[in-house]
Every structure is written in structure tokens, then in C-alpha cells.
Symmetry: D3
Subunit: 212 residues, 6 copies
């Protein structure tokens, strides 16, 4: 009897702590509330379930029937509420033979790639214009330092699959060709700031749907 | 006369700065607005008073009439609005003779303990399974690196009192026994992931009120 | 025809990424939503325009017809919504001959000053009471480490102009004289905590409008 | 001729920038120099090669012929020099049927797991003693918030493989059983701080090789 | 026999992890190696003992036989090697009746004070020149936001004792009077940047030993 | 006499604090010691002078007699030792009429530009391929969020001058054209990852000196 009583005493004396501890444990994104520089607002811990911490969207093969023969399927905080505020996120890369993830950067994160099927030729360029390229085989891991231009390319004859993770819940993704040729970046300004020929710019805007 | 005028000029020319400067000075928690990964929303500076920066909840002796003969009284951001966003918080530890704060971690912060009354046997275990234990006397300070298992125990004959502070406004508190035996963690999974005997698990669940 | 189709496929397969990527690219301040320790809430990317990233308030000469013959015009997150969450902000300093930015600190940031017109005598004091003073000429850059007392003074015969930047979107600004003599800091407490004579305190409160 | 000259001018005028830019691009660990709170010292950029950014140690199946029928193969900054300072790292988990990664924490990081073969029963416990458990199938991703107790268990009939990543280059790994039973943690202190029976403690120390 | 063997297998398979995990657990200061922006270099984990995490220097009453009738005894990373890199530190404040810790700032940290004996009149000034003052009694906790001017004063008739902690391992300490009057800050520049009378400045320099 | 004595008492009682306080105040780069992820090692405070905090390298007009008719003169931590570890740095931009700073990113920082002479057409592209372009006049400030492609161009008839600052002591600088055409990035890989024509790539490599 006394034991039961004392149990209640502990539970009571520590309840105040537990009532808020979840705030620091995690902050599952509440997409209906405002977001700020650190991420989305937190869903009430009472409404959080295990499914908030599990994402199944990377289980399916991405659609590679497109011009790049590749697909990027993100599990960033906008798709995967559980990673909000935790400084990590993921994505799935599918590359058909000859497929390529065109030259791109993640403005807000470093990236780590793990090849789980096929082979992938991966590379990045540093600020001092050194190029670091390696063909990765199954099980190889490569890291791309934050914000640097990098690419992945399937030079092999079989479908390739890789999972990537990022040092931020929302790393961003700026694809060079899309920034230049799938935007309304005026052709004249592109030629002046890249030295590309206008004809080249117009040709790629035609393919990718850019204007200006 | 001219002096008075110039005063107004300064006040006016600098008013725009002051109208927002408090935002960075402090962000007293507004518990009625959404919270995010960095903490609670900020109460309007106009409504902030000195009492938002003072907490008296640690002044009273904690109730040690319980199974652990000890009490933890937190002054985290959920209790002490003024520490929100400032990267620091506190708690009071009361330990009756034989009292113990069971093995626990703070997932989000390092902890610093100062003994102000009695003696406390304190220790932590590092990732490489080294155990660091010392009996602290009045005035001694000990630090527990972030996220590591640690404990406090009053092996002396007199009541002990310590104040602890944390490198976060909300360090969290995961008490090992409560995580295992005061939760609905299935007994079978506990035995498989800790190698504890089922009988031991069931016995402690009986004491602490766990289910599963 | 097939090409056009594949374009749509890319656009679709990547749309989910782009729909949220802006969250990490920038978080333009929405002054109507709650703010938190990390800054203001983010305006919807759909409503963001280039004008959110441009601030023209530093283009006009500040009003130096005041007691300090100087003006500080801030472009902090409260004035310049585009810097919210980006860890940087700016201000314009105008100093007439003999003008001075009185001794002050920025509680939350380091400062970098660039002199673009005239000469400025600039200095700061470190925690070990060393004083670092230099007369900066046009084009000179000086850095003040975070939180330390510093000043700028125009000892030359011509108007001086400088632009400063900060390592925070909201560095704060605590001007020593205003904290002591333009506040309601009780004179008795000022004398006890600064060793200044009461007469000196009262004289400056008279000039700056302090009470208590 | 003039063109060649102007090229040299650009190269020269920008060389000073490039000579140090690598410092921020990356900081490949130099294990022979001192390390600090932020990680290892940086290897000279001139000595860095692509192989510093690629790690092949996760390509081989881990040895699961042990008591836990599982293996953890880390690619932290101590093994994978390229991730030093980048806020990310990885590990490979191999679990034979019935294999288990015992209850553990990563004191310094959140973890993201991707299942690439078999099924894994994964779970964690929050500070408020809620248990979040889910059986993950191939392609599922789960996140464990920083510092919380979690486990992985292969309840299926086939070998399971997962890759995990962390929000730190050195997340640490504290395995509960090893901290208690493979260390020199005195049995009496363990029983006092965990309420486990001495017999249980001694039994597991016997299995895992603990002393005290 | 087989059991013993398998134990060795675990120990071996996990040894590589443990050999470096301490790096993230803690980074005890090695005062003989270079220090950097994040703190001191790390002592080899093999040489670390529990005494690196315990500091007894705050156990003795500080010497208050001085002009301020008070003493500040720091346990920053320069005195307490164990807090290096952990984002927390401490200090002891002793105030005789009438004692005062003069107006000061900590450029790099927020501060939390706990009164353990006597009463202390504590206050700070915010960037918008609001003054927050309260007389703290035994057990009261107060927080001073980072970088703001604050003070502690013993207005009671008995010795006062407080322990303070900081949100940094090295918060710094800039005492206003010492910065102005115990330095070689030229009197003319002080008067120009503070509006204090030269006579006042010279008088306090005489007391505190300043030059210039 | 007694006064002099008490002065010594204060100086002594506080000396221990001051002996290390500079560590947090600043960490002037010591280029002869190892550097790490957080920056360069710190020069001994005893050897630091005001000249470590002042940089005059931005005072001279940059050499714009080159192919881009522009010059970038950095004051990053590698050139300006005083900013090491302070989270801020600067650069000077000179643009002759028609001059351009080609499309580039700063992988590790946000940038703030202030135009002090002439007009500059400035723009950046976000992750969702929106282009933000504005012609800045004297006194205008613009911010570029971290890691995004941006450019500056002098479309006016007169020399233009701007000072830029960054939210890091070493923001890095990756110029798109140099990464592609002044490196040894194999032409075939460039064409595959950018869809540029090989002829275009070879033409620009010829101009900029790239190989591969």
C-alpha cells in the first residue's frame, strides 16, 4: 500500500519535467503553423505517433522515364515531418543506365551518398577548382562538402540506386541547368555572367522550358 | 531649449533601433504561441517584466518522501520562461540520506553540478565504457558531458542539496528505469535488447508501474 | 512531342522538392506572425519579391544635427526583412566633424566596419582591459569581437561615412550612456555599481533624460 | 596575345582567394595533429585526394558471428577523414536472423536509418517514457532524435542490412549493456542507481566481461 | 568456451568505434597544445581521469577584503579543463555586507545565478534601456541574457553567496570600471565617448590604477 | 596606503579571470599552427596588437584590366587574421564599365552587398529557379542567401565600387566558369552533367585555361 503511494509521489514530483521534455526530444513539423529560420513549428507531442518518425516514400523506385534518366526523391522536412529540427534528412537516387543527376549544389548542407545497387560515377568541384571524381561501387560512401557543385552519373549498364543523407533537415537543391535554363533568367544576363554563347543558352532553354 | 530639442533628435534617430533590439536581447517564452526547434515563441517585449527573468521554484526543499528518497525540481524553459532561447537552464536536486537520482541522461545538454550541502557520490559512463566516479563535498563542481549516463547518490548521513545547470534551455531528462519500466515497452523487446531476465523486468515494472 | 512529355515528367518528379526548398534558401521576415529565438517567422515564398532582399534605407545621409553629431541607421531584421535568419545585417554610420558614436556594445554579434569617406578613430576594449585604438582612413576595415565595448569618433575636419555589418541578423545595440543615463536606473544603484559620483550621474541624466 | 595576358591577370588577382578557400570547403582530418571540440585538425589541401572523400569500409558484410548476431561498422570521422567538420557521418548495420543492436544512445547526434535488405524492428523511447516502435521494411526510413535510447532488431527470417547516418561527424555510441556490464561500474552502485538485482548484474557482467 | 569466444568477437568488432568515441563525449583541455575558436585542444582520452571533470576551486570563500567587498572565483575552461567544448562553465560569487560586483558584461554567454546564502540585489539593462532589478533571496534563480550590462549587490547585513553558470565554457568578463579606469584608455577619448567629466575619469583612474 | 593595498587585492583576486578571458574575446589567426573545422589556431593574446584587427588591403582599387573588367579583393580569415572565429568577413568589388563578377556561390555563407559608387545590376537564383534581379544604386544594400548562385554586373557608364560582407570568416568562393572551364573537369563529364555542347565547353576552356 505504502509502495503504491510512494509511486504516485514520484510520478507527481517528476510530472512537471516530463510534461515538457518532449520539446527538446523532437519537434515534429506542424505544417499548419508558421515556420521560421530553424524550421517548422512543433506538432503537439500528444498528437505525435511513431508514423511521424517513419517515412516510406523512399521505398518505391523513382520514375526515370525522363530526359535525365534519373530521379531524386527527397525525404526533407517538407516531406518527412519527423526530421524537422534534427539536422538530418535523406533522399533516394535512381539512375537508369546513362542516367545523370545534373551538376547541382545543396546550399544548406553537406551530403553523404551510399551506393546500394550498381555503380555511380560521382564527383564535386572545390572552390579552388580542383575536381574530385570517383566511380563508386556497391557499399562505397562518398561525402560532398557543403554548397559545392557535384554530380552523379550512371556509366554502368545496369540500374543504379543510392541513398543520400544531408547535414540539415532541409538542404535545398539548386540544379545548375534548371537555375539557368528552366527559369526566366534573361538570356543576355546569362551570357554576360557565364560567357556562354547566346545560341547555347537559347538551345537549352528550349529543351528545359526556360524563358527570358 | 536647443538642448531639449537635440535630445528629441537623438531619441528619434535611434528609436527605430530600440524598437526591435529586445528581440535579440531575450525571447521570454510565450506559452500560448507555437514553439519550434529553437524554443518557444517570444512574448512581446512590452509585456516582459523582471519576474520573467526570476524563478523562485527552486527555493523550496523538494519532496524526498518517495521511493528514490530524492527529488529533481526543474527550471527549464517550460517552467522558467526567461531562459527560453538563451542556451541555459537549471534544476535543484534534493537527496535524503540514501537518496539517489537513478541513472539517466540529458539528451540535449551537458550538465554542471554544484554541491551546496552534504556530500554526493556522482558519476558518469563514457562511450568507451569508462566509469568516472567521485564523492563531491560542499563547493565541489562536476561536469557531465552531453548525453552520457550519469547518477547522483547521497551516501552520507545528512540531507544533501545541489544545484545543477545545463547547456540548453531544455536539456530533457531520460531516466533509464522509467524508460524501461515505467513505460509500455514490451517486456519481450526489453529482454531482447538489454539481455535482462524477463523476471527482473516484470519485477521492476511492478514497482514502477510499467505495462506491456 | 516525346521530348515535351519527358520535360513534364522531370518538372513533376522534382516539383515536390522545389515546393519547399525555399524554406532553407531564405526566410523573409513576416512581421505579423510570432517570432522566436531564431528570428521572425517566414513570409510565404510565393509572396517574396526581389524588394524583400534589397534595402534602400542606408542610402540617405543620417541626421547628425544632434548632441552626438552622429547617426546610426540600422538595417537589422526588424527593418530589412530579407536578412532574417541569415546571420548577417548592416548599418550606416554618419559622423559630422567631432561626431561620436558613444561607447557601446552589440550583445549578440561581432561587427565589421568599412570607412568609405573621411577618417574615423575607432577602438574597443577587451576583457583583460587592453585598449585597441586606430584611426581608420578611407577603405580601412576593422573588426570588433562580439560583445566588447567599442566606439567610433570623427576627429577629422570633414564628414565621415562608414558602413558596418554584423554576424547576426539582429545584433542589438546597448549604448553605455543610454543604459545608465537615459533609463530609470536608480542613481544610488548606478553609483554603487560604477563608483561614479552621484553629481556626475545626475548631470548626465539631466542631459539624456534619465529618471530614478 | 593580349588575351593570354589578361588570363594571367585574372588568375593572379583571384589566386589569393583560392589559396585559402579550401579551408571552408572541407577540413579532411589530419590524425597526426591535435584535435579540438570541433573535430580534428585539417590536412593540407595540397595533400587531399578524392580518396579522402570516399570510404569503402562499409562495403563488406559485418561479422555477425557473435552474441548479438549483429555488427555495427562505423564511418565516423575517426575512420572516414573526409567527414571531419562536415556535421555528418554514417555506419552499416548487419543483422542476422534474431540479431539485435542492443539498446543504445548516440550522445552527440540524431540518427537516420534506411533499410536496404530484410526487415528491422526499430524503436526508441522519449523523455516522457513513450515508446515508438515500428517494423521497417526495405526502403523505409526512420529517424531517432538525438540522445534517446533506441534499438534495432531483426525479427525476420532473413539477413537484414541497413545504412544509418548521423547529424555529426562523430555521434558517439553508448551501448547500455556495455556501459553497465562491460565496464568496471561497481555492482553495488549499479543496483543502487538502476534498482536491478545484484544477481542480475553479476550474471550479465559474467557474460559481457564487466568487473567491479 | 564458445561464449568466451563470441565475447571476444563483439569486443573486437566494436573496438574501432570505441577507440574514438571519446572525441565527441568530451574534449578535456590540453593547455600545452594550440587553442582555436572552439576552445582548447583535447587531452588524450587515455590520460583523462575523473579529476579532470571535478573542480574544487569554488569550495573556498573568496577574499572579500578589497575595495568592492566581493570576489568572483571563475571555473571557466582556463581553470576547469573538463568543461572545454561543452558549452557550460561556472563561477562563485562572495559578497560581504555592502559588497558589489560592479556593472559588467559577459561578451560570450548568458548567465544564470542561484543564491545560496543571504540576499542579493541583482539587475541588468536591456538594449532598449529598460532596467530589470530584483532582490533575490536564498534559492532564487535569475537569468541575464547574453552580453547585457548587469550587477550584483549585497544590500543585506550578512555575507552572501551565489553560484553562477554560463552558456559557454569561456564567457569572458568585461567589468565596466576596469575597462574604463583600470586600463590605458586615454582620458580624452573616455570623456568624448562617455560624456563623463575629465575630473571624474581621473579620480576613478586614481583609485583603480588606470593610465592615459 | 591601505587603499593601494586593497587595489592589489582586487587586481590579484581577478587576475585569474583576465589571464584567459581573451580566449573568448577573440582568436586572432596564427597561420603557423594547425587549423581545424572552426578556423585557425589562436595567436597568443600577448602578441596581439590593434593591427591584427585592422585590414588596409581593401583601400586600393582592384585591378580591373582583365577579361571580366572586375576584381574581387577578399578580407577573409586567410588575409585578415582578426576575423578568425568571429563569423564575419569582407571583400571589395571593383567593376569597370561593363565589368562583371561572373555567376558564383559562397558555399559557406550568406552575403550582404553595399554599393558605394556607381550602379550595379545584382541578382541571384533560388532553389526553385526564381530569379531575383535588381539594379542597385549608391547606398543600396542587397542580401544573397547562403550558397545560391548570384552575380554582379556594372551596366552603367562609370566605375562601380561595392563592399560586401559575409556571415562567415571564410565564406569560400566558387566561380561557376572557373569550376567548369578553368579546371581539369573532363569535357565529356561536363557535357553529360550540364547538357552544354562539347564545342561550347572547349571554347571556354580555351579562354580560361581549363584542361581535360
Amino acid at each position: 500500500m505504502k509502495m503504491v503511494l510512494t509511486i504516485f509521489l514520484i510520478i507527481f514530483s517528476l510530472f512537471i519535467t516530463f510534461s515538457q521534455a518532449s520539446v527538446v526530444d523532437f519537434c515534429v513539423a506542424d505544417y499548419t503553423a508558421p515556420n521560421g529560420p530553424a524550421g517548422y513549428s512543433c506538432k503537439s507531442p500528444a498528437k505525435v505517433t511513431v508514423d511521424d518518425f517513419v517515412y516510406s516514400g523512399l521505398g518505391a523506385v523513382g520514375n526515370t522515364s525522363n530526359i535525365i534518366k534519373a530521379a531524386v526523391t527527397p525525404a526533407f522536412d517538407a516531406q518527412f515531418a519527423g526530421v524537422n529540427g534534427l539536422g538530418i534528412s535523406a533522399a533516394r537516387l535512381d539512375l537508369a543506365p546513362g542516367g545523370v543527376i545534373p551538376l547541382h549544389t545543396h546550399p544548406g548542407a553537406s551530403e553523404l551518398i551510399v551506393v546500394v545497387q550498381g555503380t555511380i560515377c560521382a564527383g564535386f568541384v572545390s572552390s579552388d577548382n580542383k575536381v574530385y571524381i570517383k566511380t563508386l561501387k556497391k557499399g562505397d560512401v562518398m561525402v560532398y562538402p557543403q554548397g559545392l557543385l557535384h554530380f552523379q552519373l550512371n556509366g554502368g549498364g545496369t540500374q543504379a540506386l543510392a541513398f543520400v543523407s544531408f547535414s540539415s533537415a532541409n538542404p535545398g537543391l539548386q540544379i545548375l541547368d534548371f537555375a539557368l535554363f528552366k527559369s526566366d533568367f534573361p538570356t543576355e544576363l546569362i551570357t554576360e555572367t557565364t560567357f556562354l554563347d547566346a545560341a547555347q543558352v537559347k538551345k537549352l532553354k528550349g529543351v528545359l522550358g526556360g524563358s527570358g
